[in-house]
């Protein structure tokens, strides 16, 4: 049985520059000039201070006067980046675990399991992440004495887990039921069939939407700055307050987010290509 996707995987034609490309370029140039003419040139006068930026990434000096000799240190933005990375990685891992459980549970024939997981998904998807972060940090976090990091990671995992659950569910449902029947007819239990037959195939199909979800997660993690977690956004806000180099610092922060999301995007494309061998 040929894969249904094989039709879509015909070799893409090489990109060709045509007259239409030339027209596009001209139109873009005109639009660019108009934008400059009406907004930039008549707007604000701003003196760029790009030379202030490197110190927010790395600097050579003493972190504290008590240090005996100066050395290289991470600047504020890099420290923020580290925290963003940490909270994103932890949240992605937990979101995958939650998503797998929820995705499978939503397909359960047991009504209570199905109902509870459906409620979870609707509740979490239907309320803003910012509100959830506040609730988890101030209410649950206080009761359980969670650190800001734990509360932030929990909020992100629970939020993204609902979306991952829906992606997993769709992925499982997209696998032809003959696969489950074949596996079961060989004597495999439901769990064995899921683990060895259904999930590996589903995973391959859901990598693109999962990648999108995790890219969202990295960006959504900027919201944890509201509970005083010193992530990239928080550090950027602080640095702006201190230096007033708002444009440069926010551009740099955006660039750092882009580096993370683009890397993730590349990694998933690589995985996708690797998994295409059986097609």
């Amino acid at each position: 049985m040929p894969s249904r996707l094989s039709l879509l995987r015909q070799k893409e034609p090489a990109l060709k520059f045509t007259r239409r490309s030339a027209i596009t370029v001209v139109v873009l140039l005109v639009l660019g000039y108009l934008f400059y003419h009406f907004f930039i040139s008549k707007g604000i006068t701003y003196t760029w201070h790009w030379n202030d930026i490197p110190k927010y990434l790395f600097y050579f000096g003493k972190r504290h006067p008590s240090e005996p000799v100066p050395s290289w240190h991470m600047g504020a933005l890099m420290m923020g980046l580290t925290l963003t990375l940490k909270i994103s990685v932890v949240s992605i891992l937990f979101a995958i675990i939650i998503g797998l459980i929820v995705g499978i549970a939503r397909l359960s024939e047991e009504p209570i399991t199905k109902f509870i997981t459906a409620c979870y998904v609707e509740l979490i998807r239907g309320t803003p992440l910012l509100v959830q972060i506040y609730i988890i940090y101030f209410f649950i976090g206080t009761m359980l004495r969670l650190s800001a990091f734990a509360a932030g990671a929990a909020a992100l995992s629970i939020f993204e887990g609902a979306y991952v659950g829906e992606i997993v569910r769709a992925g499982i449902q997209s696998i032809h039921k003959g696969q489950m029947e074949a596996a079961r007819s060989l004597g495999m239990s439901y769990a064995q069939a899921m683990r060895h037959i259904i999930l590996p195939q589903a995973l391959k199909r859901i990598i693109p939407p999962l990648a999108g979800q995790f890219i969202s997660l990295i960006k959504d993690s900027s919201l944890v700055s509201v509970i005083a977690l010193a992530d990239l956004t928080f550090r950027a806000q602080q640095a702006v307050a201190q230096s007033l180099d708002a444009f440069e610092i926010y551009f740099t922060a955006a660039g750092l987010y882009l580096v993370m999301t683009f890397t993730l995007s590349m990694v998933t494309q690589y995985i996708e290509r690797r998994m295409a061998v059986s097609d």
Binding site: G178, A182, R184, M188
Partner: protein, 245 residues
Amino acid sequence: MIDAQHVYKTFITPDKRKVEALVDFTLHIDPGEVVVIIGPSGSGKSTFLRCINRLEEIDRGKITVDGQDLHAPKADINKIREEIGMVFQHFNLFPHKTVMENVTLAQEIVRKRKKSEAIEIAEALLKKVGILDKKDVYPSQLSGGQQQRVAIARSLAMQPKVMLFDEATSALDPEMIGEVLDVMKTLAREGMTMVVVTHEMGFAREVADRVIFMDSGKIVETGTPEHFFTNPEHERTKLFLSQIL
């Protein structure tokens, strides 16, 4: 080997109509017997086959396989299924596994065989179905006939006591039907208990010990292939045979 007593099975269609797939269905199949079930589509023949390994649940009645009641409260359906091989119309090979992995996976995780032992058995079976040279390719690179032969090898690797064939050649291009039927004939000659739902009358005539004609969830007529193809009794059988022969 297989004993079905007064089995009833009703489907509810999406538009809420009731379809009676099996009505008071009773059939006994001896070990080593090759039973071919024929009949128009919707007559319940595939449903019966799927009930034998509980891919469909029955509404009423009793089915035992090798003495084990499928619906006994303590019945371990996974254990029972190990003994029942099934070959599907659309092969249902695992597309993310190579041919070899398709044949060894269940041996390892269900039969708990060592990898080396599973590979040995798989190689012997792939050789038997004539496809050993393709053992390292993925199913998508095989023709339909080749895929179906791998599917048969996959079932046989569990060393089942019964083999069920659910229209195993219906999805194949005509020139590939022969290669799959040949494998099935070999199996029949080796004494495997087989229940075969098919439209291949040639196969029925040549290999079957018994032919069963079903219509509307009931057995209309049963007998040897000779009886069937020379002088069928019922009008319904005659009509059906005249339409497909």
